[in-house]
Amino acid sequence: MVATAIINPENLVYARPIGLTETPSHYCPGCTHGTAHRLVAEVLQEMNMLDHAIGVAPVGCAVFAYNYIDTDFVEAAHGRAPAMATGIKRVFPDRIVFTYQGDGDLASIGMAETVHAAARGENITIIFINNAIYGMTGGQMAPTTLPGMKTTSSPHGRDVEAQGFPIRMAEMLATLDGAGYIVRRSLHDPANIRKAKKAIRTAFETQLHGLGFSMVELLSTCNTGWGVTPVESLTWLEEHMIPAFPLGDYKIAPSVATLKI
């Protein structure tokens, strides 16, 4: 009775963007992949570029990103998405070509492809989901796993003496001259989600204007892999991930700074 009264067009303030397909999600309840997908879809829709965009899906939880984001899509081998995106972009330079990659895909097996795409100033955009863990394979240690953090392959907590230190990708890529726009945002609350959306828009505009490589790193949750509730995971992100991976703009090339969005 109440529901029928509320659900009518006059009250509609939130709906599925046309850039997202009407497909049941395979992601765990509480996971922020859904938020990130929605932001990409909304931005492409607002730019009127859904039919000019080609996505490159990774290997990892987002392997099926193509089921949700309503653009042409290809599915890359593990870590090779930036190379695949390079191949597409070089043949169709007027399209928006983006990859959507997790931390294992981007910062471990795909480190070389990522760094060199940035170094070449490849006009592609990477949406980098950093949740400090391998989600799909069941919660193993990732290159971004925090010191002391327990995973299924660092059961006593990441021991930096034996297992090394987390990698800060945004900071690292920002040192490369080919990078046009490198920022880190977070998906843990609405204010930060809005900032993340604006960053994705800027990244795609950077690409459209041929201003070089762009990457938006999104601090994300993996409540299943972290072994906490969805709500706890948002708090954990804020309290533990942001201190280790500070939010901010790491590279905004002067030409990108002049973009009017």
């Binding site: 859904l50 039919d51 000019h52 965009a53 080609i54 490159v56 899906a57 392997v63 193509y66 309503d70 653009t71 042409d72 899509f73 290809v74 599915e75 890359a76 081998a77 090779r80 190379a83 695949m84 995106a85 390079t86 191949g87 597409i88 972009k89 070089r90 043949v91 169709f92 399209r95 070389a112 492809e113 760094v115 060199h116 070449r120």
Partner: protein
């Protein structure tokens, strides 16, 4: 078109350009560097795409991306680099997108050396990446033949949505000989109903090699196989020399086949009725023709620059009906015509039995030297 003196690798690159290649992605490795170097100036001057990738895995995955758009796209490499590309090749086969690969083989295994070899035959034709797929493989024996096969390679790759490999060795890649290059063809961007280049005015498309639903994956495997069956039917290529009246036939591909032709002529001059059968499509292999020749000749001599990788294909066709003698040189050694002429004489003088293992007999002879 006039005949001009060209280096093999550069001639292959120019032939690909004239066949309408839109993008080349590669990584330096000897003895195929000149393909990459040539493309680095030739493609940009035509407004086409060239990237020197950071590695062979990156190069093949750039090819993978570009292939998904339906463009004519290629890479080249040599043995160790080809090993590094196998992951991408399997994905390309699994996604059913077309590409041309040039393998300029060198001595191996491992880092090996940079001398000509045929040690990649099994990897290129029957192995390589994971899963069930069958690339089309063409093995020219001269620069002219390689150049003539380049447009064919792109046509076959796109016709069968498959990998088409030009399999040569370092000697064909780096020798110079007179060639007539093919006419320049315009770049034609065909509208394929599978290509992902942006969903402008059409429903969106997805290209992937993942099918979690097991019966679907089986169906895709069968679809890949059915295209291969078509290729097996239509794309058999070989050349025969002095075979009409031959009592003996040498079988060799690429450089080994080319060297064997000199030996065949020498042996003919000495009164032995010997011919040469040179497979050009080594995958699909001309099994049927080899089978037919079994009825005509007393014995085959298989010559390769490896331990007998193609020999297995010959044996599959011969099925112990006639004796086979095998002669292989390894690790970058190219046989001289004299050696092969001697082998012809030995085959005639000391015939083996059809049930003998030719690779094992050859191994024993090599170890006794």
């Amino acid at each position: 078109m006039p005949r001009e003196l060209w280096e093999g690798n550069e001639a292959i690159a120019e032939a690909a350009v004239r066949a309408g290649v839109e993008a080349y992605f590669g990584y330096p490795i000897t003895p195929q560097n000149e393909v990459l170097e040539y493309m680095s100036h030739r493609l940009p001057e035509l407004g086409r795409a060239f990237v020197q990738a950071e590695s062979e895995p990156a190069a093949i995955n750039m090819v993978y991306g570009a292939a998904c758009t339906g463009a004519r796209v290629m890479t080249s490499s040599s043995s160790p680099g080809i090993s590094l590309m196998q992951e991408g090749l399997s994905y390309i086969a699994g996604t059913e997108v077309p590409m041309v690969l040039v393998d300029v083989m060198r001595g191996g295994p491992g880092l090996g050396n940079i001398a000509p070899s045929q040690g990649d035959y099994a990897q290129i034709c029957h192995g390589g990446g994971h899963g069930d797929y069958h690339p089309i493989v063409l093995a020219p024996a001269s620069i002219q033949e390689a150049v003539d096969l380049m447009p064919t390679a792109f046509e076959l790759a796109h016709k069968y949505r498959n990998i088409c490999t030009i399999l040569i060795d370092g000697s064909i890649g780096q020798m110079r000989e007179p060639v007539q290059l093919p006419e320049m063809q315009p770049v034609v961007r065909k509208e394929y109903d599978w290509a992902t280049s942006g969903a402008i005015g059409r429903p969106r498309r997805i290209l992937s090699s993942i099918y979690l639903d097991v019966p679907t994956e089986e169906r895709i495997n069968l679809r890949i196989l059915s295209r291969w069956k078509e290729a097996e039917k239509n794309e058999i290529r070989f050349r025969e020399y002095y075979v009409e009246d031959a009592e003996y036939v040498i079988i060799g591909f690429g450089t080994a086949g080319r060297v064997a032709l000199s030996s065949v002529r020498a042996a003919r001059a000495q009164g032995i009725k010997v011919g040469l059968f040179r497979p050009i499509s080594v995958n699909p292999y001309p099994y049927k023709r080899v089978e037919e020749l079994c009825k005509q000749v007393k014995s085959f001599l298989v010559v390769e620059m490896n331990t007998g990788q193609m020999l297995k294909d010959v044996q599959r066709a011969v099925r112990n009906r006639i004796p086979i003698r095998f002669y292989g040189r390894l690790g970058g050694v190219v046989p001289f015509p004299d050696e092969l002429t001697r082998e012809i004489h030995e085959m005639v003088k000391n015939p083996s039995k059809p049930e003998d293992d030719p690779a094992d007999l050859w191994y024993q002879r090599m170890m006794a030297r």
